[in-house]
């Protein structure tokens, strides 16, 4: 493999790596949103109970 071939291949790999990194970070964000949604659903379920207790 010549030097030019290595660099040209590196460019395509770098682009793929950055897009994959973005997708990994985005999946972390989705996990956080899922966790927050579950917390809020839990909070919404407990709210009528708190009202009744008051």
């Amino acid at each position: 493999m010549t030097s030019a071939e290595k660099y040209a291949t590196a460019v395509y790999i770098v682009v793929l790596a950055v897009v994959l990194l973005y997708l990994v970070l985005y999946s972390f964000k989705l996990s956080r949103l899922e966790r927050e949604t579950a917390e809020l659903a839990d909070l919404a379920r407990r709210k009528p109970e708190r009202k009744e207790a008051a």
Binding site: Y7, V11, V19, E36, L43
Partner: protein, 216 residues
């Protein structure tokens, strides 16, 4: 899927169909990703400025998130432009970066300008003031895009290659242009799909924050 299909096809054509360029040789294949990525970054910044203008014009708050997401995508494609350009520079000129080249420095200025957008945005509390300041800043940045784009054509240092000119010698052949077009469509489709996903995520995030405030 469309983006992946176009990008895979573009990569295959770049490596197996397009002949080696007369001067640049095999490394000219970097062009088929580097230039579409740079044009996509400009398109994202332009889209962000358009949404910012719509916000200032209509005062509709939804454009704030759309403008912010477009700038976010533009910065990601800006990073990719700098990375791919740097690798091309290393193999073509022997240096990772040339400070004397106005085109490179102007693109870096454009990138840093939009990177500073996030600092401005997150230094102001959420609300109409933040939306208006961000929109005005995103609109100012649009002025740098033609400067950065034209610098490649008007520069006298002749380090950065120029294509799409009236000079037949330096223009693309039909195979090169077809491959470039496919890669450009793929890159724009990729940016579009990432924009839609990111915008959906940011909207859900904002709605959840509102819901939390309402519940507590």
């Amino acid at each position: 899927m469309t983006a992946a299909a176009f990008l895979l096809l573009g990569t295959a054509l770049a490596f197996y169909w397009v002949p080696n360029a007369p001067i640049e040789g095999f490394r000219q294949r970097i062009f088929y990703f580097h230039v579409p990525i740079a044009l996509t970054a400009y398109a994202c910044f332009g889209w962000g400025a358009w949404k910012a203008l719509r916000l200032l014009w209509t005062r509709d708050r939804r454009y704030d998130l759309e403008s912010y997401t477009a700038v976010h995508m533009g910065v990601i494609f800006g990073i990719l432009t700098l990375l791919t350009g740097s690798i091309w520079a290393r193999t073509s000129w022997g240096h990772w970066w040339v400070w004397g080249s106005r085109q490179l420095v102007l693109f870096l200025v454009l990138f840093l300008f939009y990177a500073a957008y996030f600092m401005l945005r997150f230094s102001v509390d959420p609300g109409p003031r933040r939306a208006n300041l961000s929109a005005v800043y995103a609109l100012f940045g649009i002025a740098l895009i033609p400067v950065s784009f034209l610098a490649i054509r008007l520069s006298e240092d002749l380090v950065h290659p120029v294509v799409f000119t009236h000079d037949v010698q330096s223009n693309l052949t039909a195979t090169q242009f077809t491959t470039f077009g496919i890669c450009l469509v793929g890159m724009l489709a990729l940016a579009g799909s990432l924009y839609v996903n990111e915008l959906t995520g940011k909207r859900v995030d904002a709605r959840l924050r509102e819901l939390r405030e309402a519940l507590q």
